[in-house]
Every structure is written in C-alpha cells, then in structure tokens.
Amino acid sequence: MQVISEVREPLVTGGKTIKDVTEDICKQVEAPPTKLWLLCFTGSVLTLAIGGLFVGDMLWNGIGKWGLNKTVQWAWDITNFVWWVGIGHAGTLISAVLMLFRQKWRTSINRAAEAMTIFAVMCAAIWPVMHMGRPWIGAYWVFPLPNTYGSLWVNFNSPLLWDVFAIGTYFSVSLVFWYIGLVPDFATIRDRATNAVSRFFYGFLSLGWDGSAKTWMHYEAVSLVLAGLSTPLVLSVHTIVSMDFATSVIPGWHTTIFPPYFVAGAIFSGFAMVLTLMLVIRKVYKLEHYVTMEHIEMMNIIIIVTGSIVGIAYTTEFFIAWYSGVEYEQYAFINRMFGPYWWAYWAMMTCNVISPQLFWIKKIRTSLMWTFVLSIVVNIGMWFERFVIIVTSLHRDYLPSSWVMFSPTIHDIMSYVFSFGLFFTLFFLFAKFFPVINMAEVKSVWKESNSKMYRARRTISNADVPKEDRVEVHV
C-alpha cells in the first residue's frame, strides 16, 4: 500500500482525468506548428547554418583557425565539451537515479530532461571530433581498429580513450532508455491519429505496441534494470571526463577531488538547463498542471545542494593547494584568483557559489522569474568554471618563458554558436513531434496523486472540505 504524506502537494493539479492527460499532451503533437514554433525553429536552423559556415571553414583550413597556441593547446573546445556533457547529466539523474529512489515527481519532467541529455551529449561529441582536425580518419584514433598508422592499437592506458568508451556508452544507453520510454506514448498517438502519414510514422516508431500486461511487465523490469545500469554509468562519465585532467601533471588539474567535484558540477548545471527549458515548455504548451511549482521547487533545492557541493570543492581545492606545500600548485590557485584571468574566476564564484544560495529564500525558489534568471546564471557560471580550470592552469605553466594569454577567435565563438544551433534545432523538433511529457508514467502515478484524491486524503484529517468533494478512501 502506497502511503503519501499528507503535507505533500499533488503531482498533477487542476482535477485532470486520465483522458485529459492524453488530450493535453497529444494535442501539441497533433496540432499544426504554431507561428511561435516556426519562428524559434527557423532561428535555430539559421544559427546552425551560420555556425556551420565557420565550422566548415575551420575543418577546411585546420584548427589553426582557433585561438589555440603552443602553451594553451586546449581552450574553448574542451571547455565546451565538458560543459555540454555536464548539462546532459541531469536528464539521466532524473530518469534513472530518481527512479531508483521512487521519486514520483520525476514522471512529468523526465522525457524532456532525457531528450536534453541526448542532444547535449551530441553537442559535446562534436568538440573532440572537430579537435581531431581530420575527423574523417578519426575512427582509427578512437576505436580499436587494425591500422597501419603507427602504434597498432589505441592506448587503453589513456583517459582520453576511456572517454570515448564512456561517452559512447552513455549516449547510446541514454538513447535506448529514452526510446523505450517513448514507445507506449507513440502507440497512444498512433491510435489517435486521423491521418495516414502520422499513423504510419508513429505506428512505425511504436513497434506495434499494444499495451498487453505481459509486455508491460517486461517493460517495467527493463526500465528498472536500465535505471540501475544508468546510475553508475552517469557517475562514471563525468568521473572519466575529470580524469582527462586529473591524470595529467598540470598544476590545478592533478587532484583527487576532481571526480566527485565534476559530477556535482555536472548535475548542478544540468538541472539549471532543465529548468531553463522546462519553464519555456511549460509556458508555451500550457503544462502548468503537470510541471507544477512543486517540481520547480524540488529542482531548485537540488541546485542549492549541488551548488553548495561545488562551493565546498572550490574551497577544498584551494586549501589543499596551500596544505600540499607544492609551490606550482599554490601559484596556479593564486593565479586563478588574482592573475590576468581574475574576472573569469570571480564570475565563476559569483554565479556558482553565491547565486544559488538565494534559493534558500522560499519566495525566490518559488518564483518563475527568479528561477529562470538564476538557471541561466548558473550555466554561465559553470561555463566559466571549466574555462578557469582549463585556461588558467595552462597559460602559465612550469616554464615562465612560454607564458601566454589566450583569446578566442571568431571561429572559436562561432563553433560554440554552432553547437547551440544544433542543440536547439534538435530540441524544437523533439518538442513539436514527440510527446514532451511521459503520458504512460504520469497516468501510472495519477491515481495516488491527483488533486481529487489528495483532497480526499485530506478529509481524513481535515473536516473542512465540502461534503460533495469527499471521496471515500481506504487507507
């Protein structure tokens, strides 16, 4: 017997019936595209195209077009890579970790968050590919394929290769997890479709799903095991990303705190991105009864927790630099704070450590405007975090004669814009043609958490509910 705390708000408000759930979500898919959507989509495609021109130019002429130099060999490319991968983590956290913890509030946000994960990982993957310079022969450098380029096999001692396996596995497993979740909803759309093309299209995607009890039973088992597999997977991905740095001997990188610190930062930025996107979807698709203030508040609380972990990690790093007695390490951190890139460091500190603390105030964490603004601030801060770690550690290394500054070229900037174009193009396509909320899962938690039942439960303790609204409940 499921017992729900009486103080907990209902997950689906507005007295929605199960039929309303189908209606509200499917109508977005079935209706012709709105003007607003067309405008946003065109904007994204244009961004992608303009960014693509610069990316094409960069691939044609080589990555010398980027502002990299001999000392700073990694800058915006890897910053953007880590940033995008980090954003992806929230989707898996919502769909897998919260599933294992039986957090039912995740049901109405997991679909969009998982879509975000997949698109963010795709955006991340373009950076290492571009950085190869000649990506068309890159398969020999990243996959264990027999070749005659030199050392016969890829190097399994290198964290960069671990990354290939981690990101590859993460992307494909997330994609499968997401798709399996979509199948029952595609069947719902198929059975509602009144034109042949969409019935064929969604019928094809729904794999002939009929919702039989036997299939559901296996489906539930598969979802649970996939969640169990994805949980250590998502932790391993950012751990391995952090090892790209931590296994090197650059001051400011060579620390054991990196794996947990990166994972917390990833969840932090991912939840901020989920909030940015969900607030827009909720408004445009009028989903206020599904993504309620309760959901937003929960996510804001996760942002406080992970933001504080990140803050502690910054402090710990600083302390350990002093405590270790290694002068290079100490210099790296002093240089971060007061060196020529001081503004990046303080932007990171303000956005990541100070701004999320505002969410301790209930008024702010339940305000849509504040949440939206702070979610963007957090992502700016997280981009600066990666920039600070990467560029300030590299630009002044062991040899003062090679100390330089890094400044991005137009190709650096436009490649970043390109990744945004890719992300939003995919996301808008998803938001139009796929159900943005997992209907089957929302329906499965509907009974114990809709507002009518909720009021009924309240009648057990509160006699002030009007008699006609009372429903008999056997607890």
Binding site: T17, I18, T22, P144, S151, L152, W153, N155, F156, N157, L161, W162, F165, A166, T169, S172, V173, F177, I180, P184, A187, T188, D191, T194, N195, A196, R199, F200, G203, F204, L205, L207, G208, W209, D210, G211, S212, A213, K214, T215, W216, M217, H218, Y219, E220, A221, V222, V225, L226, L229, L233, S236, M243, M439, A440, E441, K443, S444, W446, K447
Partner: protein, 203 residues
C-alpha cells in the same frame, strides 16, 4: 489452428476495480487471454498469475559477456599482440583497464537486455498491432477473453464480467486476416481507406 477468433472484451475505468475484477474473474474459473492497459498497473502480473520477468537475468548474462569481451580485448591488444611501453607502466596494467571494462559491461547489458525484450515481445517497426479496444492506449483498462479457450458459455462469462464491475462488455470477432496481420496489407489499407474496424476513422 482456428481461422477465426471470438473474444469477449471487458472495459474497466478504475485501476483498483480492474485489479479486483481480474481476481474475481480468474476465481470464477474464466481464462483471461490478455489484459491491455494504457499505463503499467502494479501487481497486475500477480493478479493474472504471470511468472516473474526474466529480463534482469538477460541483462546479467549480456553484462558478463561485455566484461569478458572488454578484458580479453584490452589484454590481447596491450599485452599480447603489440606490447608497448607507455609511461613506464606494465604491459598488463589491470587498473587502467577498469573504466573500459565497466563501460563495455553496461553497453552490452543494456543493448542485450533491450534486444531480448524487443525480440521476446515481438516488438518491431513493421508489426501490425492487434487492437481489441482502441481506448486501451488512452484511458481504459481492457480485458480480452478467448471464447474458444473457455468451457463456460458466452452468457455465463458476460455475467461474471458484469459482476466484476466491468463498465462495458461486448463481443469482438477477428477474421483470419485480422488475426494474422500482414504489414503490406496494413499499409495498402492505411493509404486507401483507413485501417480495420478497430482503428479510428481517418479524416
């Protein structure tokens, strides 16, 4: 095998009524062909008397295969086929092989299990779903009872279904063609005149 199939379809609205209904129906000695629901109903598999899903076992086997594959691959490449000194590490540096072994385990387990799931439930893009009641992917919970497999008469079963609080009970017959849905036929029908009686009319 019979060419035509005759079913009784019972439609329920509430999941608790449905669960109790299923228990009542099975208790009365009626064999249920299958239940169709728009969302997973917990404990329904127990009410219908299904065996536990063996999907986790498939995941374990494929996962073990993945680990074996990864360790074999890394050992044979790094230590046997082309040993190279990298950073003064031993050729067979097991700790370095852990991340890739873990990732391969997860990859094999996930894909193997999902593949098993799709295969064993016959889910494929060109499958023609056999739909008893179109509302079973929307909001209603549907039971299908194969009349040929029950010794009770149709009227007796109808009575039992009504007793079990079914909202609606009706008879549904499948012709041989509908029973063994052909994808080609489905496509032709779809673009000619809309599909079978079970589906919504195309506009």
């Amino acid at each position: 095998m019979e060419k035509e199939k005759h079913y009784l379809v019972a439609v329920f609205d509430d999941q608790d009524d449905f669960l109790h209904g299923v228990e009542h129906i099975r208790h009365a000695g009626v064999k249920i062909q299958e239940a169709f629901t728009p969302y997973p109903v917990h404990r329904l598999e127990d009410a219908l008397g299904y065996e536990r899903s063996l999907m986790p076992v498939a995941a374990f086997c494929f996962g073990a295969l993945g680990t074996t594959f990864a360790i074999t691959m890394q050992t044979s490449m790094m230590a046997i086929d082309w040993p190279m000194i990298i950073g003064g590490k031993p050729f067979l540096s097991i700790p370095d092989f852990v991340p890739v072994s873990f990732e391969c385990t997860v990859l094999f387990a996930a894909f193997g299990m999902v593949g098993t799931f799709l295969f064993s439930n016959d889910l494929k893009p060109y499958k023609v779903p056999k739909i008893f009641d179109i509302r079973s992917t929307d909001d209603k919970l549907v039971l299908a009872i194969d009349l040929a497999k029950n010794s009770l008469s149709e009227d007796q079963i109808k009575m039992i279904l009504k007793e079990a609080k079914a909202e609606e009970v009706y008879r549904k017959d499948f012709t041989e063609e509908e029973n063994e849905g052909s994808f080609i036929k489905y496509l032709i029908d779809l673009f000619n005149n809309g599909v079978t009686r079970s589906s919504r009319q195309l506009s």
